[in-house]
Amino acid sequence: MQQLEPFPRGPTLLAHYLKVYTIYVRAGWLALMAYPVDFTVRNLGNLAWNLAAVGAIWLIFTFTGSIRGFDRAQVLFIYAMSMLARSIWHLLWVDMMSVGGYVQRGELDRLLVRPLDPLFQVVAGYLDHDDWGELALGLMVLALAGRSLGLGKQPLLVAWTALAVLCGSLVYAAVHLAAASTAFWMVRNSAVTSLAWDIDSFSRYPLDIYPAVIRLALTWVVPFGFAAYYPSQLVLATGTHRYLAALTPVVAVAAFAGAYRFWQSGLSRYQGTGH
């Protein structure tokens, strides 16, 4: 029998995954560049759409000074954090929403015969093509709103914002992974995935505008509150919920770990070992 080089474990395994991930991303990027005109036009369209949505907020502040104590720069800062968190998740990991499709078409089997984690293959196998406008606009609005909030002189807060955006992406990933994993129990789970997709808009505004029951749900059930609003409270002068804000990384990791457990139990049900 052919002698194989021993398969990596521990840190080497992580390095192996990182290496393979770069190869996947390269392939994804090459696939996007196979249709350059399509790529450009769609992303300009996406940019225009997001510009319109930001414009709507700007308009509201032409006749009001604040919404529940948040001024224009603060609301736009939260909105931009949410845009960034969402677009990073969307660009890199959005294909996790199609787990249901993988299961129905039997494509999951193809992933299970490779020596890689199947979820890794789902998310690495697809680089999104039309949400780069949201990423660009999010960065721009965040920079502008951050500057008028005086963030430029506080590198620690800038670093926190960057970390918070990544945590926010993880929150997005956790919610969508949990929603997508219902595919292992129900053949058509589009009601669940589309609900997750649509309620992410709740993460874009200060939670203070919602009634208590929605606020609680966005904090403890579907933690979209941690995608932008709570972590922003360490940066903004409004500064409520500072303890919850500091917990953002913990909540993000815990939520993703929980969602991953749910995915795993679904997967073992699929493979016929669990119920």
Partner: protein, 327 residues
């Protein structure tokens, strides 16, 4: 150590039962009821390294379930599966490194990119050493003609070209076992021939074990030295394809339309199998009797208006083995 061991392997699926009326649908949401389908029933076989085994059966006989159990996609309900010394389900990743798989209906090629990009990706996924990668791709260029399409986007390839790529992709990392699930499905005669030739070459040149499921008896005849037949979840034949074909595959079927309402008697070497409208159906063994002889014998008592001769296909063979003469 055998390449594949299946010992008393049984696989059952639990299918949830849902009512179609609202009331019963809601009830089953809370108290789900299942009925069990047994896809495989105490299947046992052992395959040695280097063997090329054909695995055939009707649709729904349990072929794909077997492949899924051997590749580690599914866990057996009971029994033991071992591939190169490991449990393929429990040690999925270890097993996955040593196997190659082609699902005839599902592609693992990168759709929008040139063929070589898929191989670059797989090279890193399986950690194929550079010299090994060089040697193997050179072999694929030679045996499968991949050099001609190496830089073409997959979406522009024909079905046959794609299947050649799939096949090469499955063999890239020198797996010890390769599973081919319907690799020739939908291909034309020429493409099938290329694939069979490749499998023959590879089984001569390397020690790889090949497990092949197919609908096409010719695949088995040309490539496999052993064939396992499965029917309704059980193994019904395990032996050389020559013997299988000698016993059953040479059977052919003659239909004659005659003038008048005479009940014919079967000529020597043939059996009267039944009646299809106004046509009488005979089966016969091509090695024992030839069509002109049959016609001559039949012509003595009957006025033949029209006739057709058909070979028994795989389905016919399986039916004959399992359910007797069902044609």
């Amino acid at each position: 150590m055998p390449a594949i061991i299946a010992q008393e392997v049984t696989k059952e699926y639990r299918i949830p039962q849902r009512g179609h009326q609202l009331g019963s649908y809601l009830r089953t949401l809370f108290t789900p009821s299942y009925h069990t389908i047994r896809a495989l029933n105490a299947v046992s076989f052992t395959i040695e390294p280097g063997e090329t085994v054909g695995y055939i059966g009707l649709n729904g006989a349990g072929k794909s379930t077997t492949v899924k159990l051997l590749t580690g996609i599914l866990a057996p309900t009971s029994g033991r599966v071992e591939v190169a010394g490991v449990d393929p389900h429990r040690e999925r990743v270890t097993n996955a490194r040593r196997i190659g798989v082609v699902f005839g209906q599902r592609s693992q090629l990168l759709w929008d990119l040139p063929v070589r990009e898929t191989f670059q990706l797989l090279r890193h996924v399986y950690r194929v050493p550079p010299q090994c990668y060089q040697a193997n791709t050179r072999r694929f260029f030679e045996l499968l003609g991949l050099d001609a399409i190496w830089d073409q986007p997959v979406r522009l390839l024909s079905l046959g070209q794609k299947m050649r790529c799939e096949l090469a992709a499955a063999f890239l990392h020198d797996p010890s076992v390769v599973y081919l699930d319907e690799p020739t499905i939908g291909l034309d005669v020429l493409a099938k021939a290329t694939i069979r030739e490749f499998l023959k070459q590879i089984s001569v040149r390397t020690q790889v074990t090949v497990f092949l499921t197919t609908h096409d008896l010719r695949d088995i005849e040309e490539v496999c030295r052993r064939v396992i037949l499965i029917h309704q979840g059980s193994v019904v034949y395990d032996g050389s394809p020559q013997k299988l074909v000698q016993e059953y595959g040479q059977k052919a079927r003659l239909e004659v339309e005659v003038v008048g309402d005479v009940v014919p008697t079967a000529p020597p070497g043939a059996r009267l199998a039944g009646r299809n409208g106004n046509r009488w159906v005979f089966t016969f063994d091509r090695q024992q009797v030839r069509v002109p002889e049959l016609l001559a014998a039949l012509g003595q008592t009957l006025a033949i208006r029209d006739l057709t001769v058909t070979e028994l296909d795989l389905e016919g063979v399986v039916r004959r083995i399992y359910g007797g003469e069902a044609l």
